[in-house]
């Protein structure tokens, strides 16, 4: 399964714990040909959820998943050439996603693409998810704050600002 999504960044998270996009990463927007940021807080997510149909199975599932989320943030960089960002840039994000609160649960390393999924646990419940997707000319960070399971991400594809992707194929 080649799930290309990507990354996010947690901005809110737990009261005493805030994940911020490192300055180094923010500076990548200078090298990127295009940078896109989408931020949805709880009220906007509630709004998106209201307009999903209960009659359609996919939309109904997306609606149920969105109901509990606090925020969604997507940040995507597109570059003209390869090598515009480094492993060090990625490491600065990973360093914020460590135990005890965070753990990397999925790591798909391909020839040209590297996708990692980090989950945040609290009292035995998954309370957040960060997807980091690195391609030679594209870097995406997605942060979903709220109860969500990795297998549910596909159901949110194309909703609430999240990238649209295909199961088993490229976007």
């Amino acid at each position: 399964m080649k799930t290309t999504i990507a990354g996010l960044v947690v901005v809110m998270g737990l009261a005493a714990q805030t994940l911020k996009l490192p300055i180094d990463i923010e500076n990548l927007s200078k090298a990127a040909t295009e940078t896109v940021d989408v931020t949805l807080d709880g009220s906007m997510i509630r709004f998106a959820e209201r307009f999903l149909s209960d009659g359609d199975a996919d939309q109904a599932k997306a609606k149920r998943l969105l109901r509990g989320l606090n925020s969604i943030q997507v940040k995507k960089f597109e570059f003209a050439r390869e090598g515009e960002y480094s492993e060090r840039d990625l490491q600065s994000i990973r360093s914020q996603l460590q135990a005890p609160n965070w753990s990397r649960m999925v790591h798909v390393k391909g020839l040209r693409e590297n996708t990692e999924v980090f989950s945040q646990m609290r009292a035995g419940e998954m309370t957040g998810l960060v997807v980091l997707s690195a391609e030679p000319r594209e870097l995406t960070i997605v942060h979903i704050d709220g109860p969500i399971k990795p297998e549910d991400i596909a159901s949110l594809s194309g909703h609430a600002g999240l990238p649209r992707w295909n199961r088993g194929g490229d976007r």
Binding site: D37, V38, T39, D41
Partner: protein, 156 residues
């Protein structure tokens, strides 16, 4: 003549209705910042009147200000814009920076009664455009569910 003046007043009314809005004060603030007056756009009042009647894509009304021939070095930074808008109750929603097109789009959103407002600001070379659109719930839902596509559809 009297009838003509009356008709003009009616057409212009939607633009000035609820005057003294923060859009107007933000436009004035931008004019002061650049030292340039916004460009006069003929029939803008009429266009707004049409929007109020036709409600394309759920839009109830809009306000538009274009600043031409501005000093590019004086474009407000991302952070300046965030500070300015967040303090007025707007939430950052979508931000697109394109070095290729030398363009920056920042979109903010906020609730306004039963409707929502979107403030779209575009900085491109020596031109700045500010658009405030009031849209109904359904229109806003389209934006929220696919902001990137809506942004592309609405950018020039």
């Amino acid at each position: 003549m009297k009838r003509f003046v009356l008709a003009l007043t009616v057409l212009a009314l939607p633009v000035f209705a609820g005057g003294g809005s923060d859009f107007d004060s933000m436009v004035r603030s931008m004019e002061n910042h650049y030292g340039v007056k916004k460009t006069y756009i003929p029939f803008l009042g009429f266009a707004n009147f049409v929007v109020k009647v036709a409600r394309p894509a759920g839009a109830r009304d809009f306000k538009l200000a274009i600043f031409e021939h501005v000093d590019q070095s004086r474009h407000p930074s991302l952070e300046d814009m965030d500070r300015r808008f967040v303090s007025a109750g707007w939430k950052p929603f979508v931000r697109v920076l394109s070095n290729r097109k030398r363009e920056r789009v920042q979109i903010y959103a906020r609730e306004k009664g039963r409707d929502h407002e979107l403030m779209v600001t575009t900085f491109e070379n020596d031109e700045t455009v500010m658009v405030r659109v009031r849209i109904n719930a359904e229109g806003m839902a389209k934006w929220v569910n696919n902001p990137r596509a809506m942004c592309g559809r609405n950018s020039r």
